[in-house]
Symmetry: C2
Subunit: 342 residues, 2 copies
């Protein structure tokens, strides 16, 4: 149920509005002067505020000013209602940041419509979407603003301690992000393919990169300037939500990988890595598919030595889970790989 706050000194008018809104299904709060109004607004954080201008104690302009200073109440839609029909008064109200201005006398329908249209303007999607849906229009905007660049395979896109300047979008190709230990061993954190964004963690933290990114094969990336991304993120709730969803998904994935690294055998982890790569880069077809990936890249994904990966692949081949065509790996049964025990 939506909360509405009415600040109005005339008892008749105030009670009339309260009654009307209660009938329309609002939870109503009312104040007979500005001082009480500001207190109620701060405490109740209503969804909309209707406010008279000329009042004892504190006038409407002051109420609006005070509410805008407070971050919690600054974004609540604020509608002035007043007999001051003069143009200058209305302009002053709007210039101070009111969202609408109703001149008395107004009828119930006008008031109701004014409230509904301000609430509608602020209503937002209720869930998060990580894929599809709105990402089409998002992508549209990003593509418009970004510039496309081609990268060869195994080319480095950014390295730790670089200052982030772009958000990246994979237009074509494959990209990995990875961290490097002091002794040079690498651990891949995530794989990205056509249609994925990457590089946003560091942008959101406003800090230097904490990982490296490189292409796995020839790729085309769209680079979106940091400032453009920040603008979108700050002005479009939809985009902020999309990235919130992506970030929290990423957190969960990494937690699972941590558990695997801590307690699962290399055998299980190699099997999981194959399943993951197949799901990411393989055609979403039947139970089998062919992967072209170097043993080093696989080892970085698993967090082990490349020799060990070789041995595991040999085992899997003996067990007829995979087949080898040259250096490419052909998965014979994803299901059986998924069922490898820890």
């Amino acid at each position: 149920m939506k909360k509405a706050l009415i600040i109005e000194d005339s008892d008749d008018i105030r009670e009339g509005i309260v009654e009307m809104l209660a009938l329309a299904g609002y939870e109503t709060y009312s104040a007979k002067n500005g001082k009480i109004g500001v207190e109620l607004a701060t405490k109740q954080l209503p969804d909309i505020i209707l406010c008279d201008i000329m009042m004892p104690e504190l006038d409407g302009y002051s109420v609006l000013y005070l509410l805008q200073k407070n971050a919690l109440t600054a974004t609540i839609p604020f509608i002035f209602m007043t007999a001051k029909a003069e143009r200058a008064d209305m302009r002053k109200g709007m210039e101070m940041g009111a969202d609408d201005y109703l001149t008395k006398p107004f009828d119930d329908v006008e008031l109701f419509n004014a409230i509904e249209s301000r609430l509608k303007k602020r209503s937002k999607p209720t869930g998060f979407k990580t894929k599809g849906g709105d990402s089409v229009s998002l992508l549209e905007s990003m593509r418009a603003k970004g510039k496309t660049r081609s990268f060869a395979g195994k080319q480095i896109i950014y390295v730790e301690t670089d200052e982030p300047a772009h958000l990246y979008f994979v237009k074509k190709g494959q990209v990995k992000t990875y961290k490097r230990a002091k002794d040079g061993r690498e651990l891949s954190s995530t794989l990205y393919k056509e249609g994925d964004f990457f590089g946003y963690e560091s942008l959101c933290r406003a800090a230097a990169y904490s990982d490296n990114a490189a292409t796995l094969c020839d790729s085309e990336l769209i680079l979106i300037a940091k400032s453009d991304f920040m603008d979108d993120l700050l002005n479009h709730q939809e985009i902020a939500n999309t990235f919130l969803g992506m970030l929290s998904g990423s957190v969960q994935e990494k937690e699972e990988q941590m558990l695997r690294l801590a307690y699962f055998s290399v055998r299980k982890r190699v099997a999981d890595a194959l399943v993951k790569v197949a799901g990411k880069f393989g055609e979403p077809d039947s139970d089998s598919c062919t992967l072209r990936i170097s043993r080093d890249d696989l080892a970085a994904l698993v967090g082990t030595a490349s020799e060990t990966v070789s041995r595991m692949l040999a085992d899997f081949k003996d067990e007829k889970l995979i087949e080898k065509n040259g250096n490419a790996i052909q998965i014979l049964s994803i299901e059986k790989l998924k069922n490898v025990k820890q």
Copy 2:
């Protein structure tokens, strides 16, 4: 530089406004009918739109309608400018979702103020803050809406597959989140203390919990209803930014932990865990402090067996890095612990 789009069929008026805005430092785009206006708005995504109502090709109401259907243009401030001074026309414009309504004739100052006040209303903080600053008012709001609950030590707060119903805030005490492997071994992902939020990853993903949470000692938590949190997240850019910052910080931390788990010795990981716990729960005082933490909890943090933790602690004791008072661990030199080699 801010972009402004003027949609107006009268050449005189349009050029007058363009000139004024250009002088005021705006990048201006102009359209002489609604059709061109919508195209320009979609392509340029201006920061503000001024639009006449009566125009050939497509009238102002239709322009507003079309722009509101498109997610990318829906949030751009939209100001009607028209000679239609009649009340009903103005109400129609506002009810459709316009942000302001200027009736001709208006002077430059009025127009300029109207634009500036709409831009100001939408301007947002430009960086992310993970700590302090605005979190005071945030916490204020959360505390107001949430309910406080007491938990004994080692009590479970939520478990995997529970449906998230709350955001949690630690008012007093210590909390850990952890994942459990099939064979029962646990891996702690994060420790939380007084002043930390937790449980937001799952809320942001709108999915079941993927980890467990339990208290380490007697604690008081504030439970904020999921709906209240979502409301705030969707309506306050500031709050969305705070959680974006927290999530991306969390991603980075987990990546580092992954690298440690994959390639660092248990010795190094135990040392790191001690440093981490000291930093989190110890007084932020000198080089030494005393920790009360069970070997099982430490082992879960490191991702190893508790016996191994015991052995490492014995080693550290021999090396005079720590001391033991009963079951409590007294760190003698955090610096030396930090310098343990991988």
